[in-house]
Amino acid sequence: MRAETMPRERAETTVQGQAAARPCLSVEGLTKRFGGLVAVNRLDMTLHRGEILGLIGPNGSGKSTVMKLIMGLERPTSGAIKLDGEDIAGLPSHKIARKGVGLVFQHSRPLRRQTVFENIKLALLPDSLLKLFADPEVDERAKAIAERVGLAKVLDRRPATLPFADLRKLELAKAIARNPRVVLVDEPFAGLTQSEMAAFADLIGTFRAEGRAVLLVDHNVKSVAALADRVIALYLGERVAEGTAAEVMRNETVRRVYLGGEIRTYARAEASFQSAEPLLQVKDVSVFYAKAQALERVSLHVHEGEFVSVIGINGAGKTTLFNAISGFVPFSGEIAWAGAPLRGKSAAAIARGGIVQCPETRELFADMTVREHLNLGGHRLTRAESDERRSWLFDLFPILKERQKQNAATLSGGEQQMLTIARALMTKPRLLILDEPTLGLAPVILEQISNALEHLRRTTSITMLLGEQNVTFALPHADRIYVLEHARIIWEGPPARFAEEMGTGYL
């Protein structure tokens, strides 16, 4: 008999028998390297039955990699992952799943042509080639699970017709169906409204009540604080804090990672730009991705020469906002550039009009050299202009001059980020949009990029829109701040006031 069909009563008694004696999952010296990048560095971590552990960290901290390593979606470079004493590190994911680890994916990816019922049923099927038809009790169990997560009314609908929250419940239902000992939940609350979050938290709470071990992976402590018994904070692949949510929030290192120690601000008053109408005016912009609302009536404006930062955790909608401005995603509402509406213009036309975006993914061409990237950026300039622009950029980022003949793939993360910015600046933009330039970079590199931005602000008339979750980096480079949370702008003001009004609530 398969473990999944074990009656729940028995599962519970077993759990109580062994309660808390030995950890259900224990991670020992786990390390993962991607080429030269150390994503996870000698991590130790334990997780007990009936416990909810929050694993938090900013983007690039390695938390998602830890989750993938446990599930077997990535192979660890070294270290052990023990499930009730048995090392499962490096096994293929289907074997790990059968041993009792389940993953609730952040992005719902149900079978599109099958109904909700069939999607749940799929998760109940054995990995057998001979069982052409499922056992009759599978149907009953699928219905019971649907009832439990609140999908009973939509059993016969196709996923495409469901609201976003129901799709998330479907992912949860599939995880429950496997009756896992360890449940990994990736960003449990992303994209949910307050009331949906509460319902989702209740469901995750029932996992704990059943004696399952639950790992919540999220960006900040706040979102998992109410649910997690214990929290581990990661930064640059290492554990920087562990304890209750309150303890982790008070932790000095965590505060520095998220808020920065001492925040310096050099804001120029907005009044000094108000001579003309704003260069960029975003008004009531909403964006939907299928069911999920990524932006909700967002309005902001940027004056010529102004540096504006949009602060928000991952998933808040920063990238969507920038993509709407750059013409990559359809939106409702209005976006005006130098007084003229941008709607209906192609992304290429918008870029030629002077709005250039440095995407968070950098989008460099792996097999092209630094020099070729810069030439590509300057392809519309005359020879003389291009040469002049390039030597100016080499002053701004001296390391790029040394790396001219190297392929982008061989650059370090920081050098790649500098090249991304330099390539954008080659096009002589009026507005430079930087989407999370600090992603996964070490503090010393941040300082170099920080200095370059400060130089741009003092010596040029360029306008900048910066999207960041790293407040320490965002504040010094901002004349004005917007805070984006759950698709909405919730705060606007000068950086000096941010620390007072938003600072502590932002962990």
Binding site: H94, A97, R109, L111, E118, L132, F133
Partner: protein, 308 residues
């Protein structure tokens, strides 16, 4: 359970179509019967291909690799050793499955576009081997087999029809079964299928072997119907493309649509014969238009309307 398997109107429509097809020899000329016989065999090739494309989400450009191995192995065994026809056919089928395994084991590790490229290369290699070992295979001239299953057009026709109906029923049932559901999940999202505990490679491999079984068996039967086998009629990449177009034309993920597409394609080519050289062009353009504007194919449109 049965109700779920057989959407009623579609089931009765299919049954009626098969009944009419079974009675055709009573009033249709031998020439038309011959045409349909070949169309039915190609229907099986297309249905086997749809199992891989529609469900496992892998584009196999080498359907002719599998059917060609079945046909040539059966033909050569008959030529050389004069074994009973049914043994030749069994050996041909076996050869297709074994070669399918040898090809798919490494190829499925790279799934996606690289899998597709591997299958094209397999066809080219087989084509070369046939030319190189001309004394065994008949090379570019083709292979002639001494035996045929029957010289009666109606018998051959009924055999082909029966083969197509049984293959179609098995493949259709498989595609709607629990195993078919897992195969679809593996095709649509292998990361999630793995996280749900399914061995994605195993399921895709078996789908490929099932495809190889029906293609190889069909190829072997076909060679004993035609009495000959040649690179240009069975192996050439263009023949493979024809099988693929038939499946897409008929409707992805429908299995039955692939057979309908195959009959339609051969029928259309025949109907356009008076236009001479233009026939191929018109058929190609028709296929192109269907793929561009009705990517769900003829049968896909019907199935969708019924569902709505």
């Amino acid at each position: 359970m049965l109700k779920r398997l057989t959407p009623a109107p579609l089931f009765w429509f299919t049954a009626a179509a098969i009944a009419v097809a079974a009675l055709l020899p009573l009033w249709v000329s031998g020439y038309v019967l011959g045409l349909l016989t070949v169309a039915y065999y190609f229907g099986v090739f297309s249905m086997s291909w749809d199992l891989l494309f529609g469900f496992a989400n892998e584009v196999n450009f080498g359907p002719t690799f599998l059917l060609g191995l079945g046909a040539y192995t059966a033909g050569i065994v008959d030529n050389r050793f004069g074994l009973p026809i049914w043994i030749c056919i069994a050996l041909g089928t076996l050869a297709a499955i074994v070669a399918g395994l040898v090809l798919a084991l490494p190829a499925l590790r790279v799934s996606g576009p690289y899998f597709s490229l591997t299958t094209v290369v397999a066809v080219l290699i087989l084509q070369n081997l046939i030319v190189v070992f001309a004394d065994l295979t008949g090379g570019e001239i083709g292979l002639t087999v001494p035996d045929v299953i029957s010289i009666d057009a109606a018998t051959n026709y009924w055999l082909a029809l029966g083969f197509m109906v049984i293959s179609g029923a098995i493949l259709f049932t498989l595609s709607r079964s629990a195993v078919g559901l897992i195969l679809q999940a593996s095709g649509q999202d292998k990361v999630q299928a793995g996280a749900l505990g399914f061995n994605v490679t195993k399921h895709k491999l078996v789908a490929f072997l099932i495809s190889a079984f029906f293609s190889g068996l069909g190829g072997a039967l076909l060679v004993f119907y035609m009495g000959t086998a040649s690179v240009s009629t069975l192996i050439d990449v263009a023949v493979g493309v024809q099988i693929i177009i038939a499946a897409v034309l008929g409707g992805r993920r429908t299995i039955i649509g692939a057979a309908v597409g195959s009959i339609f394609l051969i029928g259309l080519t025949e109907a356009l014969r008076p236009t001479g050289e233009l026939a191929t062009l018109i058929v190609s353009i028709t296929a192109l238009l269907v793929v561009l504007f009705f990517p769900n194919g003829l049968f896909g449109m019907i199935a969708r309307r019924e569902r709505a």
